[in-house]
């Protein structure tokens, strides 16, 4: 299991810049799946459990998720300069690519094959995001919330968002605050418990 090996860390701000450039350029239909694959599985800057925790914060704070995430990671290792290096990596090359595409795509956008290619890429991207979520479920095993309660929270969130189409903000405030409250109770219980197995 990856958790058992020691973690790495970015070597420098230049390393941050290029790492985020490379993963941004792979992120078709959203960068999230690539972030998980690159930073957790390949570079091993964080464990799956740490990734879920950091992603939770990036998701809940306002603003684009991956932008928030790269600011957090960059800031953690190299302060404000690190955050800006990661941000620049995330934005510079993709912006240039997007402008080239916008100029080129303008002339073919109405053609059937171009529309089809977008549909196909969109379908794959949906699968990548869902798989990223599924792959992170084992990271909950070490979570003091407990696997049963975690499963209930996940099921409730999925039903609320996917099937009942509740607005995200209400899901976060409702289910999210209940979940955090429960986690707080569990942490308190852990802290007060006699240290049976240190």
């Amino acid at each position: 299991m990856p958790e058992e090996l020691p973690l790495n860390r970015p070597q420098s701000k230049t390393d941050l810049f290029w790492s985020f450039t490379i993963l941004a350029l792979q992120g078709f239909g959203g960068v999230l799946a690539v972030v998980q694959r690159e930073l957790v599985e390949r570079k091993r800057w964080m464990t799956p459990a740490q990734f879920v925790e950091d992603w939770a914060v990036a998701q809940i704070l306002p603003g684009p998720n991956v932008i928030n995430f790269c600011l957090m990671i960059g800031g953690r290792y190299f302060g404000l300069a690190g955050a800006l290096a990661a941000l620049a990596g995330m934005l510079a090359a993709p912006t240039a690519v997007l402008l080239v595409l916008a100029l080129a795509f303008g002339s073919v956008a109405d053609l059937a094959w171009a529309q089809g290619a977008l549909r196909g890429m969109g379908a794959v991207a949906a699968g990548l995001i869902a798989a990223t979520g599924i792959k992170l479920i084992p990271a909950l095993k070490s979570n003091p919330v407990g696997i049963g309660v975690s499963a209930t929270i996940m099921l409730g969130t999925f039903i609320g968002v996917s099937l009942l189409r509740w607005p995200l903000i209400w899901v976060l405030l409702g289910i999210g605050s209940l979940a955090c409250g429960w986690a707080y109770v569990q942490l308190t219980r852990q802290a007060n418990a006699p240290k049976a197995n240190p």
């Binding site: 306002p62 957090m72 953690r76 941000l87 934005l91 549909r119 379908a123 909950l140 999925f158 429960w182």
Partner: protein, 200 residues
């Protein structure tokens, strides 16, 4: 399909101001702001055509990089329209770049400052029980949100007779990412090819 606009300095400021004011509302990603941006740019001010609006979103979603770049592309198009009003050429390029800069800066500045300061504070107090409880409690919620995002993207194609090959493609991609270490670019490339050939 390009508009002829005459934008004053106060118009540019209004554009900047609009994105600034939306920034802190973007909980869960900038894409949830799309309806409000549409109201402002297309309906009220008519700085952007309907087609420019929807193609900006489609392109940024399918291009590599953060999806928030759709906002920058809209700013670019507003600048393009303004440049056409001034005769086009290099003025268009300059105004497009200005539009893109203003939009991206506006949409990201407030949220980035908030994120940076909050997460620095949380990092400093990472052993605090409240901070730990927040991260641990939110973990299952966030995992479910990821799966939900995949679900919602798939469910937006809601005609089973026509869309079932698309669903199969999503499921196969999901299985491959979950179970193998195949490079993600192969999957995206295959999706594009399958789509271009008209199989989905």
């Amino acid at each position: 399909m390009i508009l002829d606009l005459q934008l004053s300095v106060s118009d540019w400021l209004a554009l900047f101001n609009h994105f600034l004011s939306l920034s802190l509302l973007a909980v869960g990603g900038a894409i949830i702001l799309a309806p409000d941006i549409h109201r402002f740019l297309v309906d009220e001010n008519q700085w952007l055509t309907e087609q420019q609006f929807s193609s900006s979103i489609a392109l940024a979603q399918s291009a590599p990089g953060p999806n928030v770049l759709f906002v920058g592309l809209m700013g670019w198009n507003v600048g393009l329209n303004a440049g056409a009003g001034l005769g086009g050429g290099w003025i268009s390029v300059a105004l497009s770049a200005l539009g893109m800069l203003i939009s991206l800066l506006g949409i990201m500045l407030p949220s980035s400052i908030l994120t940076y300061t909050t997460t620095r504070w949380a990092q400093k107090h990472r052993d605090n029980r409240g901070v730990r409880a927040f991260k641990l409690g939110m973990a299952p919620v966030v995992i479910a949100l990821l799966v939900s995002t995949g679900w919602l993207l798939t469910a937006s194609h809601n005609d089973p007779m026509r869309d079932w090959p698309l669903w199969v493609l999503t499921l196969v991609a999901m299985g491959l990412v979950w179970r193998t270490r195949i490079h993600l670019l192969w999957l995206i490339g295959s999706g594009a090819l399958i789509g271009a050939l008209g199989w989905v």
